[in-house]
Amino acid sequence: MIDPVTLWTVIIGLGLGSFFLRFVFTGLVGNRAMPDWLLRHLRYTAVAILPALVAPQVLWPAATGGETDPARLAAAVAALTVGLLTKNVIAAMLSGGFTLYGLLYLLG
C-alpha cells in the first residue's frame, strides 16, 4: 500500500513540476533563442526515456517474479512491430493485447 503522505507529495510535486516544464519556454523564455545543443538533446527525450522504462519490465516482469515470460515478451514484440509498420497507436495496442491474452490462454 502506498503511504498517503508520499502519494500526495508525488501528486502535488509532479503537478507543479509538469506545469513548470510546460511553461518554462512559452512563459519564461519568451522569444529569446535557446542553444542548439540543448534542443538537439531534448528532441530525443521521449524515444530514450520510454523504451528505457519499458525494457526491464518486458524482460523481467514483476508479475512473474522476474522470470522472462514468453507471452509478455511476444506481446511487447507484437505491439512494437505493428506500431512500426502501421504508425497506428491503437492498432499496436490491440495487437499487443490480443497476443498477450492469446498466449496466456494457450500456454495456460
Binding site: 513540476g17 511553461f23 512559452t26 531534448l42 525494457a55 516482469p61 507471452a71 512494437l80
Partner: protein
C-alpha cells in the same frame, strides 16, 4: 469579424482533436484502474489526473511507488518522462509566446502530446493565423481530450476493484508505451537513441533507487544528438 474567425479557429481545433478520443478513453480508464489496483482511493486517483494530466508520467510515478522507490526518485523519474513537455513548450514559443500571460499559463497546463502535435502542425501549415486564432485553435484541440481524460480516469477508478489479476493488466503499461513510441522512430537518430537507452537501462537494472532510468535516458539522448550531428555532417559532405 475578429470574433467569428476566432470561433471558427476554435471549432476547427475541436475537429482536429476529436480523433484522439479513441486513445484517451482506454488510456484514462487504464490509469484509473491501475491506480485503484495499487491502492489509491477514487479521490486520490482523480486528483492525480486533474493535477498532472500526463499519461506516461502518471504511469511511471505509479509504477515506481508500487515498487517502493524513494519519493525523490519517483518525482525525478516521472519528470524525466515528462521532459518532452519542455521541448513542446520550446517549440510552441515562437507561435504563442506573445499571448497574454494567463492564456500562456492555461495553454501550459493543457499541453499534452495530442494538443501539441495538432497545434504545431496547424501553425506550420497556416503561418497567417493571428495570435487569437492560434490560441482559439489550441483550446479547441484540447476540448475533446482533457475533459475525457478526467472523466474516464474516474470511470476506470470506479470499475477498478472488480478487475481480477488474471487479466494481466500489469502488462498494459509496457504495451501502451511501446505502441506510443513506435510511430516516433522517424530517423536513424531516434532509433539509435532508443536502442542505446534500452541497452543501458538493462545494464543498469541493478542500480539502486531506479536511477538506471535517468542514466539510460541521458545516454539515449546523447546518442540521438550525436547521430543527428553525424547524419547532418554526412549529408553536408555528400552535397559538396
Amino acid at each position: 469579424m475578429a470574433i467569428t474567425t476566432v470561433k471558427s479557429a476554435y471549432f476547427s481545433g475541436v475537429a482536429a482533436g476529436a480523433p484522439f478520443i479513441l486513445v484517451i478513453i482506454p488510456f484514462a480508464s487504464l490509469f484509473g484502474l491501475l491506480a485503484t489496483e495499487a491502492g489509491l482511493s477514487v479521490v486520490q486517483t482523480l486528483s492525480f489526473s486533474v493535477v498532472v494530466i500526463a499519461g506516461a508520467a502518471q504511469f511511471t510515478a505509479l509504477q515506481l511507488m508500487v515498487e517502493d522507490a524513494p519519493t525523490l526518485v519517483v518525482l525525478a523519474s516521472a519528470l524525466a518522462v515528462n521532459l518532452r513537455m519542455a521541448m513542446y513548450s520550446a517549440s510552441l514559443t515562437p507561435y504563442i509566446g506573445s499571448a497574454p500571460l494567463w492564456q500562456r499559463a492555461c495553454a501550459a497546463y493543457l499541453t499534452v502530446d495530442q494538443s501539441y502535435v495538432v497545434a504545431v502542425a496547424k501553425y506550420e501549415r497556416s503561418p497567417d493565423m493571428t495570435l487569437p486564432e492560434r490560441m482559439g485553435y489550441f483550446f479547441g484541440a484540447v476540448t475533446p481530450i482533457v475533459p475525457l481524460w478526467y472523466m474516464f480516469t474516474l470511470v476506470g477508478a470506479l470499475l477498478g476493484a472488480q478487475v481480477p489479476d488474471s487479466w494481466a493488466l500489469d502488462f498494459a503499461i509496457p504495451i501502451t508505451f511501446l505502441a506510443m513510441i513506435a510511430p516516433m522512430f522517424r530517423t536513424l537518430a531516434h532509433v539509435v537513441a532508443a536502442l542505446v537507452a534500452v541497452v543501458v537501462s538493462l545494464l543498469c537494472a541493478g542500480v539502486p533507487y531506479s536511477l538506471g532510468l535517468i542514466i539510460a535516458g541521458i545516454a539515449g539522448m546523447m546518442a540521438g544528438a550525436q547521430v543527428e550531428l553525424w547524419t547532418a555532417r554526412r549529408a553536408a559532405e555528400d552535397s559538396v
